[in-house]
Point group: C2
């Protein structure tokens, strides 16, 4: 391991996992942590518990701001474990000189998103640090949810199961990149940032058994699929052209040499269900976003790997992202 | 309220309370949050839930480091609500270029302190931000504890009850100040940073009914006493010379014009018990630190105020700290 921390260590991909394993998992070692799910399952399996710190830059961007992102990010991690978001803490670190009007705007966004989740902030912490010690404002939100659907896990995938995506991918990463670089697009491109609990509830209400589910944040869809392939020791085969990518996102990817499957999302999730549930699950997802799609299948072709199949019959491995992806994306 | 956030807004005193009330409490409004205790009581009164972000500078100081501070700070907030610390999340924001050796040292400190509390880290988050976006490293720890002693609250104080302090005050604030300013003292001055659950357990095991209990962090003993006086609408009268202050801390206070009662502590708590329990409680506290002391009584002299009585018979109000206290103390 390098002797200093690099931007790549926070990429949500290979180097990030290495840092987490070699330092945090090693010392904090326990069964719950090593499951490496979106949220820990605690208190006799009743509760899910998860944390996220948000350092996104800029603080305000098309379709959202750091406050909305924080509540969505934490509530989504709970929802992805089949849990109803209930209690959140909110801890802010503010740079001296920050505008109270902007702070209030951020807090209002949080409140609005809490309502969508039926959750509340029950404890908080506010730190103010001198100019230059932090770039404007960081937020940590940590949440507790009540588990309504048990057994969701990245180690549950089996041959023949279906992989679905809830909407087109990469919107958040592309939006932040464009906002940061001052790329003014004559388009409606905006973050996908949204609370996912309502869609999870709709899946449960439809009687669908959720095998695995994860929102494709840092590291994108590629990171989720690779973690599942490794976690379940199976192969995931994806039809490359079935992965929905919006026109504007595709444009930014081409401009920059990124792949949309590596871009961060903040309101887009990947879902594994049994083959017999795929049509019903797709219907539920399409009710929210018509770009939802069945994108692949679990096979045993190459256990531990993700394969992208093209319509011309070519195949390639989709690896865990590596290197310096966009920092401060969330 | 000022139009920008100032260092005073993070002082743990008057301006800090104003910021919290006018922005966070206002929008997040709910019954649990407005109780304003060290930790929220949730899940039918079974669990306590609390969050803290740590921005201390320097990261390493006599008697501790940011890792020890983080685990103590969060576990202590749980312990102060009569809860056994159980599950923690750990979220770190690291500046690009930070040393992995130092990171590992910090994580080791956390692990050691987790063991003292019988708690574990079950979920985490790691963000790496470009140079200049954060000063070295910040940690958020958020914790869940199982409540073993119910009914502890800052609104419970009644006339005749006794106020105790668990040890001499101000060591953490004085230590950080000295470390930051490069004041080399020919002394053993070090932070009081320590996990308080063992002492809370000893109080419970001795059958003492804990009325109110709070660790005197930012804003010091003065902030705790004022919050209790206001929260319970009573007067707290303190014998000024009974407040234990170590020689070195007194020296730093005189040098700088600080009052030891306003300095931050990280392993020192104030306790309210019924008069008949005071001797037993003092004995338990002295078993841990011989500087523990009974420092005052709850009266109705001036409801909502804290009075310091001197041995010469003079009286003065001890107010909530205001202005720019030491930033980045925790």
């Amino acid at each position: 391991m390098n002797k200093t921390i690099t931007i790549a260590h926070g990429n949500g991909g290979e180097e990030n996992n290495e840092l987490i394993k070699k330092i945090f998992y090693k010392h904090f070692e326990n069964e719950i942590l090593s499951k490496s799910e979106d949220a820990a399952v605690i208190h006799n399996g009743e509760l899910a518990f998860t944390t996220d710190s948000f350092t996104v830059s800029p603080l305000f961007f098309p379709g959202g701001d750091i406050g909305k992102l924080a509540v969505c990010g934490t509530c989504n991690d709970l929802a992805m474990m089949g849990a109803k978001p209930k209690y959140l803490t909110c801890s802010v670190i503010i740079e001296e000189g920050f505008s109270t009007r902007e702070l209030e705007k951020i807090v209002r966004s949080m409140k609005k998103e809490l309502e969508i989740n039926g959750a509340m902030v029950v404890s908080g912490d506010t730190k103010v640090v001198p100019k230059g010690s932090v770039d404007k404002l960081f937020i940590n939100t940590t949440g507790i949810g009540e588990i309504e659907h048990t057994g969701i896990s990245s180690s549950n995938l089996q041959e023949g199961m279906s992989i679905l995506i809830s909407r087109d991918v990469g919107a958040h990463g592309a939006t932040i990149f464009a906002a940061r670089e001052g790329i003014m697009l004559e388009s409606s491109l905006q973050t996908d940032c949204a609370s996912l609990y309502p869609q999870v509830k709709a899946l449960m209400d439809a009687g669908i058994r959720i095998v695995a589910m994860r929102d494709a944040t840092r590291g994108g869809v590629a990171a989720v699929l690779n973690e599942w392939a490794k976690g379940s020791e199976v192969c995931i085969e994806i039809d490359e052209e079935k992965i929905p990518v919006a026109e504007e996102v595709r444009g930014i990817c081409e401009m920059l040499g990124f792949e949309a499957v590596n871009l961060a999302n903040e309101g887009t999730f990947v879902l594994t269900v049994n083959k017999e549930d795929e049509a019903k699950a797709l219907k539920v997802l399409k009710h929210n976003n018509e770009n939802a799609q069945i994108i692949g299948t679990v096979t045993r072709q190459h256990d531990g790997k993700v394969i992208l199949n093209s319509s011309w019959g070519t195949k390639r491995f989709l690896d865990l992202p590596t290197g310096e992806l966009l920092p401060r994306i969330c």
